[in-house]
């Protein structure tokens, strides 16, 4: 029962639900199609409100899950819900019906309202048609009159123009009188088209008159432009007006520009006068500061004037900057040209005053004409000027030194006898080096101390240049020395081919002076210069740090040290060469195998001693005295060694026979084995004794070598023996290293004996006697002279 009732109830409900869902739900088909699937599976009590609700399932579920009481409760609940739903449904249907009825009413009312509208529309059309026809009528009636009025108006305008043109000359006159040129020009330019169109016919007179007037205006305007009295604005306006009048403005411009140029020329004359006057004054730079001021101010005034003129020109003529810039740069350039002439004269004071004047001029002009970038330009020019100045200073310096050094050569050529020519030359050149460099420092420091902006900007560069200049200068000096000494390097030979002096004409004394001068530069000049540079020329560093400072005293020192040594060696070489020639002649001339018995000491010994004496006087003038070393006495090795063969040799020489010669040679060898090796070729020092001794030693060694190339008979041997014996007594005075000299002299005798067919020495008494006579003779000769 319950189940059946449930089924009928269910059917009814399902129909209702379908209807409702077909009305509200967007897709009823999908809802219904899902139904069978879901019903079996998702059976919960909550599905009651879903579309896939399955009543049987729900029922079963409900029965299964809840107890009796629960079921009853559910039943009551459900019945109430169903009742509620039914009333809701009824309300819904009712409301819908209501709405339908009101809609039908509205449609009915509309139908009745539309019926009278058409007739109203037709009446409106009629009325509009009549309004149109009326307005057409008004238009046609007014048309003729309006045309007439327009014509009259045009005529009036034309008449007014004609009136203006007839009035133009008079008006222009008036304008000229009142100097209202701007108005006049406006009028005239206004009338211009008419004149152009009708000027030949109707308005001939008028045109002529007005042109005359305009000509006057142009004249006046031109005058205005050229007159300096007028204000700049007025002049600029005048130019504008002239331009409007089609007047060739360019010619005016050119004329004005020429005027400016002329001005500049005058000004430059002034500036030259200024520098000249300042030079005159600075001839005595200590006193001449004050009078300097007067021309300077005059110069400044004229430059100011020029600047004003330039300013005016610039305002008057637009777009004239390039031209003016050029002009201004020209001005600066001319200034610097004048400066260059001054540079030649070597006064840093002059240079600084000139630069100061230039800089003030430039600043004045720069105010007026910033486009010309005059300061930069001036700075560049000043750079060049300062650089030139520095390099010319150094070249003067070099010239100065070379003059001092060359005096030696010159004096010798002229044959002027002086007591100590070399010493004088050395002192003079040393002084030249020191004073020259100090002067250069003085001059350059003046450059640096100058506060003018121009030089301040160049300060770092100047320092670098000065340092570089010194570096360069000393290199050049070294080259020059080399050239003087004839020992120039291969590279410079090519360049100085023409200047190179033939080797034999170079005075040995000069080379010695150079040697000592190099030493002096290395030891005193360079440290002082380094000090100076450190104190006042440090900084700089524009060159970039990777190059290091421009002036490298160590390098210069090294160059001059080696140069000094080289010159010393060269001097020794030159001297020994001369002696070698002497010796060569001595040994080439006689036939030693047929030599006659010795009667006196040969005169070549005199020549030799004379040569040594000459060297000694030269050396004494130039080189410092060495520390007197007494080692020859204390360190008696050498002297024992040199005397070692004396008894041996005497013994041997007494054996006239040659049978034991072999053993003699062996003895010599043995002696050599046991003696200390004599150091003949020691290092040369820059002292009198060292140089003289070296030359003596080298000469004696040469003597030995010459002897070895000859073959002697007994007399030849004796001659050599006598000569050497004499030398032995005299050379002691000259050479310091007595041991070595003795040794070498003995070697000469030994060598002669070896090269002698019959080595029988002279008896000592005879030797002594001959030497004494010779000594007496020489002292006799020297006494009267």
């Amino acid at each position: 029962m319950e189940v059946e009732g449930g089924a009928t109830l269910d059917d009814k409900a399902k129909r209702m639900r379908d209807l409702l869902s077909s009305f509200y739900s967007p897709d009823p088909s999908s809802a219904s199609s899902q139904q069978p699937n879901t019903s079996s599976r998702f059976a919960t009590l909550d599905t009651i409100n879903t579309a896939s609700f399955d009543a049987d399932q729900y029922m079963n579920l409900l029965v299964q899950k809840s107890n009796m009481e629960g079921l009853l409760q559910k039943h009551v609940e459900m019945a109430a819900e169903i009742k509620n739903l039914d009333t809701d449904l009824q309300m819904l249907v009712y409301e819908n019906y209501n709405k339908f009825i009101s809609a039908t009413d509205t449609i009915k009312r509309m139908k009745s309202n539309i019926v009278g509208m058409e007739t109203n529309m037709e009446r409106l059309l009629e009325k509009i048609m009549s309004v149109q026809s009326r307005s057409d009528g008004v238009n046609t009636s007014l048309f003729k009159k309006r045309e007439h009025i327009e014509k009259l108006h045009r005529t009036r305008n034309l008449l007014r123009k004609v009136q203006f043109i007839y009035d133009l000359p008079a008006r222009l006159e008036k304008c000229i009188k009142s100097e209202a040129y701007a108005d006049a020009v406006r009028y005239y330019t206004g009338a211009m088209p008419i004149f152009k169109a009708y000027g030949d016919s109707s308005f001939q007179d008028c045109m002529r008159q007005s042109e005359e007037a305009v000509a006057i205006i142009i004249n006046n305007l031109e005058g205005k432009v050229f007159s300096d009295a007028e204000s700049i604005q007025a002049r600029a306006e005048a130019v504008m007006l002239l331009k409007q009048l089609d007047f060739p403005v360019e010619s005016v411009k050119v004329k004005l520009f020429e005027k400016l140029e002329q001005f500049l020329v005058d000004l430059n004359l002034d500036s030259k006068e200024l520098t000249n006057s300042s030079v005159d004054v600075n001839g005595s730079p200590d006193t001449g500061r004050v009078p300097d001021a007067a021309p300077a101010t005059a110069h400044e005034a004229s430059v100011r004037e020029f600047a004003e003129a330039v300013r005016a020109y610039k305002v008057i003529f637009l777009d004239s900057e390039p031209q003016l810039s050029k002009l201004a740069q020209d001005f600066v350039r001319k200034h610097f040209e004048a400066t260059h002439q001054q540079i030649e004269k070597q006064h840093s004071a002059d240079l600084t005053t000139i630069l100061r004047v230039i800089w003030s001029d430039v600043l004045l002009l720069d105010e007026v004409l910033p486009e010309a970038s005059l300061p930069d330009f001036a700075l560049q020019s000043a750079r060049v000027a300062v650089k030139d100045y520095i390099s010319s200073a150094f070249s003067h310096f070099l010239l100065h030194i070379s003059d001092a050094v060359m005096k030696v050569q010159g004096r010798q050529k002229e044959g002027i006898e002086e007591e100590y020519p070399l010493q004088a030359a050395l002192e003079a050149s040393q002084k030249a080096v020191l004073h020259g460099s100090m002067n250069i420092f003085l001059e350059f420091r003046r450059l640096l101390d100058e506060n003018s902006e121009l030089l301040l900007k160049l300060r770092d560069l100047t320092i670098d240049w000065v340092q570089e200049g010194f570096q360069d200068f000393f290199r050049k000096l070294d080259d020059y020395f080399c050239l003087l000494s004839g020992k120039s390097t291969v590279a410079s030979q090519e360049v100085n081919l023409l200047e190179r002096m033939p080797g034999d004409k170079i005075a040995a004394g000069l080379v010695l002076v150079l040697a000592q001068l190099s030493l002096f530069i290395e030891q005193s000049a360079i440290p002082r210069i380094t000090e100076e540079i450190a104190s006042s020329f440090s900084g700089g560093g524009v060159r970039g740090s990777e190059y290091g400072p421009a002036f490298v005293p160590a390098e210069i020192c090294r160059i001059f040290r080696s140069a000094g040594e080289m010159f010393l060696h060269l001097y020794i070489n030159m001297r020994t060469q001369k002696i070698s020639v002497l010796l060569k002649k001595r040994f080439a001339a006689p036939n030693w195998i047929k030599h006659k018995e010795p009667r006196e000491v040969h005169m070549f010994v005199d020549l030799l001693l004379q040569e040594f004496e000459e060297i000694r006087t030269e050396v004494k003038q130039i080189l410092p005295q060495g520390i007197l070393r007494k080692h020859r006495r204390t360190d008696s090795n050498g002297s024992t060694a040199s005397s070692r063969s004396n008894p041996l040799r005497d013994d041997r020489l007494n054996r006239s026979n040659t049978q034991k010669a072999r053993s003699q040679l062996l003895e010599t060898h043995l002696a050599k084995l046991f003696k200390q090796k004599m150091e003949i070729f020691t290092k040369v020092e820059q002292t009198q004794e060292s140089v003289v001794t070296t030359i003596v030693k080298l000469s004696l060694k040469s003597l030995q070598e010459f002897v070895r190339l000859q073959t002697f008979n007994r007399s030849g041997f004796q001659q050599i023996q006598l000569d050497i014996y004499f030398l032995k007594s005299t050379l002691k005075r000259i050479a310091e290293d007595e041991a070595a000299v003795d040794f070498l002299l003995d070697e000469v005798i030994v060598s002669t004996a070896e090269r002698c067919l019959d080595p029988v020495p002279l008896e000592p008494p005879i030797l002594d006697r001959l030497v004494q006579t010779k000594l007496a003779k020489t002292s006799e000769q020297s006494m009267p002279s």
Binding site: T489, V490, A491, Q493, E494, R558, I559, N573, T576, Q577, S580, A588, I593, T658, A661, R662, L665, H669, K672, L673, K677, I680, F681, L698, K701, S702, E705, R708, T711, E754, R755, C756, L757
Partner: protein, 351 residues
């Protein structure tokens, strides 16, 4: 003879001036040397470096009638050599042949091949063309230059031509260009003269005084090295005679002789009266022979040209000879008669 030296020593009995490399001996490194003794009987020594290179062995000892002032080995026959000799006022030059040795060392007589007679003044030197077989021989005396045509098999020497260098030029020596068998350079008092042997005329001269010795570079044509008394060593390019290509300091006293290495370019030996032999490397200067190169390189970087100085001599060194078989070996002879053979291997430039 004495210890303390790196070289191998050999002592001659008497003083001596000249030593020569036996170029034609391709199996051994040998040298010929002759003594200079006024009063004793002079000797010619044939020295051979032992195979280990540790000893100098006397291969032959021959007596020579006069003291020997110059000695030169024939470059194509190892048994032939020339000497210049004098005794008192007499002088002469001769070409000798070493007799066949049958093991005995006793001084056999030298066989004379030819006597270069005809000189009227003191003979300076006899020159062989250094490069190879050549039937000509040059002898130089103080004033004249002789060109001999030599036939070793027939043992004859004919004067082919003769020319005087002029009365005022005292000739002192010379060298034969290894690159050109027609050109020769002679040293005299004031210059180095370059002669052409075909015309027997002086073709050119280097006006440079006091040249004592001269040698051609074997490797590099037109390169001449001169040694001067006082002013060291100069290297010349024969195409540019105005100035030397390079100069080396030489010796403190006279630089007596220079010898260019026959194989290694730029290696120069010089011997001086300061009892020393110096080994120079001039290739860095000579090879680039452009002045610009030396300009570009700052002077600090210039390589020290002196490779080594051999000081262990008791007297002036006059004789010097490179071995042509082993070009890193040279023999030097000091006046006291001591031959020293040294190897320059430690100083060879790295190639």
């Amino acid at each position: 003879m004495q210890g303390g030296s790196t070289g191998i020593g050999y002592g001659l009995k008497y003083q001596a001036r000249c030593i020569s490399d036996v170029k034609a001996d391709t199996d051994h490194t040998s040298f010929l040397t002759g003594t200079l003794s006024l009063k004793e009987e002079n000797e010619v020594h044939l020295l051979r470096l032992s195979s280990g290179g540790t000893e100098l062995i006397c291969e032959g000892l021959f007596s020579h009638p006069n003291e020997i002032w110059d000695l030169a080995s024939c470059p194509f026959d190892q048994r032939i050599f020339s000497t210049v000799f004098s005794s008192g006022e007499t002088y002469g030059a001769a070409v000798w042949q070493i007799p066949e040795l049958y093991g005995q060392l006793s001084s056999p007589q030298l066989e004379s091949v030819a006597s270069l007679d005809g000189h009227t003044c003191k003979i300076r030197c006899v020159l062989w063309w250094p490069t190879g077989r050549h039937d000509k021989l040059v002898s130089v005396d103080e004033q004249n230059l002789f060109l001999w045509s030599l036939d070793t098999s027939k043992k004859t020497a004919q004067v082919q031509s003769q020319e005087s260098a002029g009365m005022l030029h005292y000739l002192t020596g010379g060298a034969w260009d290894p690159h050109d068998s027609n050109s020769i350079s002679l040293t005299c008092d004031s210059s180095v003269q370059l002669w052409d042997l075909r015309t027997m005329k002086k073709t050119n001269s280097i006006e440079h005084a006091h040249v004592r010795n001269v040698d051609y570079d074997m490797k590099k044509r037109y390169t001449l090295v001169t040694a001067e008394d006082e002013s060291g060593i100069h290297i010349w390019d024969l195409r540019k005679l105005k100035f030397p290509v390079a100069d080396l300091p030489g010796h403190p006293h006279w630089t007596w002789t220079v010898k260019c290495n026959p194989v290694y370019e730029g290696l120069i030996l010089s011997a001086g009266t300061d009892s020393a032999v110096n080994l120079w490397l001039a290739s860095s200067l000579g090879r680039n022979d452009s002045a610009s190169d030396s300009l570009a390189a700052p002077p600090t970087r210039r390589i020290e040209p002196l490779l080594n100085s051999y000081n262990d001599y008791e007297d002036s060194v006059y004789g010097l000879a490179w071995s042509s078989r082993e070009p890193w070996i040279f023999a030097s002879l000091s006046y006291d008669g001591r031959v020293v053979v040294e190897s320059i291997k430690p100083h060879l430039p790295r190639k």
